[in-house]
Symmetry: C2
């Protein structure tokens, strides 16, 4: 792939669940593992877009090729250039960074798979760093862990409820934590509390740091970039990067096959009026066990026709 | 089912994905449709638990049997009586309301299905109203729509970002909106803004209201209860309730069959080392198309052994 236009078209295809040309797929899988994927997650309004913008801008200054993917499972329609109100990435835009939104056009299903394929496409296009940002709601915030190499959890002093973040599982998935908007009261306290909470989680040999930043004023961005590089080096030196790439591919494959086979089975069920029949069975008191058996009986016959 | 102890045991079985006795299943499906299900959703910290507590308490005063189900997809372990810090339902507890948490013990998968089965169990136990409360993070907040008859979206003047709620899809799923903590500045403005946003969504003949409340002080609770009853009556008079029950059951059945069949297929794949083989295939440049074909070939053989 040589032009941003091509890349953008490819991602639109992915977004729309279109069948990808197998030559293209081969090509994008071949290149996997070279780029570093950075994921920003955290509640809405903590400043993830601003941090993404500033970090991307710093990398551009070092002549790195950067792609930004804004994943919004709540948006039924994003389109290539329409980035919605939440994305204001001025610095990056000015510097020619490739920015794309990925919405849930055609259903939320498989969004993390489409996210993965989109980052693969960016990688094949030659991006050195791919930054993935989530909207801050929903399961996708946790699933970013499976797409990113370095996951950054962003909180603010006010969001205060780092307890809620913890409950949401964010305390398990971060490699780096950032207290953004650190000019607001309580930043240092929240930092210490996060550190305290982190100390309860079984840790690997990577030391999870909690950084302070003020995205709008550009404070703490250099430190954050340095920590991202530290984590990148850590993953490469310990060979964990290879492991991550392998696991990610495995997960993708399993998801792909599951959706694939279920789509076919559901079609068979609908075509044969089986859903209605099973529902009537339940009403007449048939047990789920019996329905399961009927289902398998049907499946054995039905699959042979695929 | 005659005792709360029995009910609690049953829900624990459901939580743990244990196979349910088919007689029990028959019984709980038979009773479906009588109880009214109320779902509270909204961001963390807006006061959902308090509102749940107060509403439940009002219903108890009218001699209704109430069950509360607190769904926490982020908790790997809840257990029957351990309700975690977020649930402080003093009034209801004192009045003997049945309160249960449902965590993601054994994986997030199928949580909405387990939620549905748990409410069915409560219904079979004789509950008139079942209140379902979500933790305020993740997909489950939207899926509550599929379990509840009346969905209540709770916001506060401060959470301010009703825009974010909108982006998260909450503006589509509510039947009633509540601005809680309405003693804080901006409550009236937020109310008007929500009304404004709601006016953009294609509506049915149900008029979505935005109410003000102060859960801790008990203000606005009577009005909320009245609106819940209005909505309940609306669903019954328009026969929409029957439709909801039917749709819910259909969704449950489809989910059940999908997970069912995939569990079996995944087992087959793993037992036969197919995942590793397919991954190696991808590395050697095989296309997803070819892998799909191999997969079906295998499936046709494999399923006959089930």
């Amino acid at each position: 792939m040589n032009s941003k236009r091509e890349l953008s078209k490819l991602i639109t295809k992915i977004e729309n669940f279109e069948e990808l040309d197998s030559e293209i797929l081969k090509k994008i899988f071949e290149k996997e593992g070279r780029a570093h994927r950075i994921g920003f997650t955290g509640p809405p309004g903590v400043g993830k877009s601003t941090l993404t913008d500033k970090i991307a801008s710093l990398f551009v200054d070092e002549n790195k090729a950067i792609g930004i993917l804004a994943v919004d499972p709540t948006s039924p329609f994003t389109g290539g250039a329409i980035l919605g109100d939440r994305i204001r990435m001025e610095e990056s835009s000015k510097k020619g960074v490739f920015i794309r939104s990925l919405g849930s056009r055609g259903g939320i299903g498989g969004l993390s798979r489409r996210t993965y394929l989109s980052t693969l496409s960016m990688e094949a296009f030659g991006m050195d760093y791919i930054i993935i940002e989530t909207v801050g709601v929903g399961q996708v915030d946790l699933e970013i862990k499976f797409v990113a190499d370095t996951t950054i959890v962003v909180l603010t002093p006010e969001s205060g409820d780092y307890i809620q973040a913890m409950k949401a599982g964010l305390m398990e998935i971060g490699d780096i934590y950032v207290v953004n908007k650190c000019d607001r009261p309580g930043a240092e306290e929240i930092k210490r509390e996060i550190e305290f909470v982190l100390s309860f989680f079984p840790n690997s040999d990577w030391n999870k740091k909690v950084l302070l930043s003020n995205g709008l004023k550009g404070e703490g961005i250099q430190e954050l970039k340095r920590e991202i590089i530290n984590h990148k080096n850590y993953l490469e030196i310990t060979k964990k990067k290879e492991q991550i790439v392998k696991e990610r591919r495995k997960r993708f494959l399993i998801d792909f096959l599951r959706d694939e086979v279920w789509d076919q089975i559901e079609l068979l069920l609908v075509e044969n009026g089986l859903i209605e029949k099973f529902l009537a069975d339940i009403e007449f008191g048939k047990s789920l066990d019996e329905i399961r058996k009927d289902f398998y009986k049907f499946l054995k016959k039905g699959l042979n026709s695929l």
